[in-house]
Amino acid sequence: MASVTESPSSVRKVIVQLKATADAPILKQNKFKIPGTDKFAKVIDFLRRQLHRETVFVYINSAFSPNPDELVIDLFNNFGVDGKLLVNYACSMAWG
């Protein structure tokens, strides 16, 4: 269960922790803060840039791949663990 200590209406930052799975490379910086009002698309784009890949397979606990339009704060409130939103990523290998 996520521990939400601040009121929902305050703009808070969410701690996102990235975890490499399958054959994905491990990032040096795998933890960062992002405004809760940002969309999940920002996390996906960050991963794409860091991994230099156009396609990254991104998913969280509960066996779910969030839609890029979801707000990070909503994901944290529903799926956050120990004050963090854990995001798993794998590389869906490109052709060729």
């Binding site: 969030p66 839609n67 794998a90 869906s92």
Partner: protein
């Protein structure tokens, strides 16, 4: 189902159970959206086993052009919106039939079980307002912008055309060959879901959270969070 040794596939019977759960959860959590409906497969003569066989169907969906963010919006047959951020389609001087600027496209989606891959498969077809089938390049323009790249570059999601398993018409489908791989990944950390019934009930929710993004349909968080914690 022992998740750690799971191969990412499911049986036809499990698919039927998963479909039922998916249909119910979708109705509860996504009531603004058209429902998925279970359709029993047409009975085929000379087929020995008459197991419960069918697919999930969502038809006559009007996919509006995606806005600059991701994702298309889904609605039933509604009046088309007048302001769209996409560029206008080039006017064909030779055949100016309608003066309307934007063409509305309609889609049928079926979630069908693949006996050979043992995974769900999304079949779809699109047509214009005259009922003419859309070609793949026209369909791709209706998909979210990031999908186009994903479709071309990922070996896990690509589109092929083939005859629908129950109807003698060509449909498009998201090829299932990568599905078991990414389904395994999705459930990797989910030791808590290892209890069989819960995993089956969530199977299509998890599956569709990935597949739906390709076509611009969204799984609301509530569908996932309905599970017992």
């Amino acid at each position: 189902m022992d998740v750690s040794s799971w191969d990412g596939t499911l049986s036809l019977n499990e698919f039927s159970l998963a479909a039922q759960a998916f249909e119910e959860k979708w109705k509860i959590s996504n009531s603004a959206s058209p429902p998925w409906l279970w359709v029993n497969a047409p009975i085929r003569p000379f087929v020995a086993s008459q197991k419960v066989d069918g697919f999930l169907s969502m038809e006559n969906i009007c996919l509006l052009r995606p806005s600059e963010d991701n994702g298309a919006e889904v609605s039933r047959l509604e009046e088309e919106k007048t302001s769209l951020s996409e560029k206008e389609e080039a006017i064909d001087d030779a055949t100016l039939v309608h003066s309307n600027h934007h063409e509305v496209h309609y889609y049928d989606f079926h979630i069908v079980y693949s006996a050979s891959y043992r995974v769900p498969v999304l079949y779809f077809r699109g047509y214009d307002s005259d009922g003419l089938p859309l070609q793949l390049n026209e369909i791709e323009k209706d998909l979210p912008a990031c999908s186009a790249k994903v479709l071309l570059e990922s070996k896990w999601t690509f589109i092929t055309q083939e005859e629908h398993p129950y109807f003698n018409r060509p449909w498009y489908k998201l090829h299932p060959c990568g599905t078991s791989e990414w389904m395994k990944l999705l459930f990797l950390d989910e030791a808590v879901l290892a209890e069989s019934k819960v995993a089956i009930e969530l199977h299509l929710v998890s599956w569709f959270s990935v597949v739906g993004q390709v076509i611009g349909l969204r799984v609301p968080i509530e569908m996932v969070n309905g599970r017992i914690n």
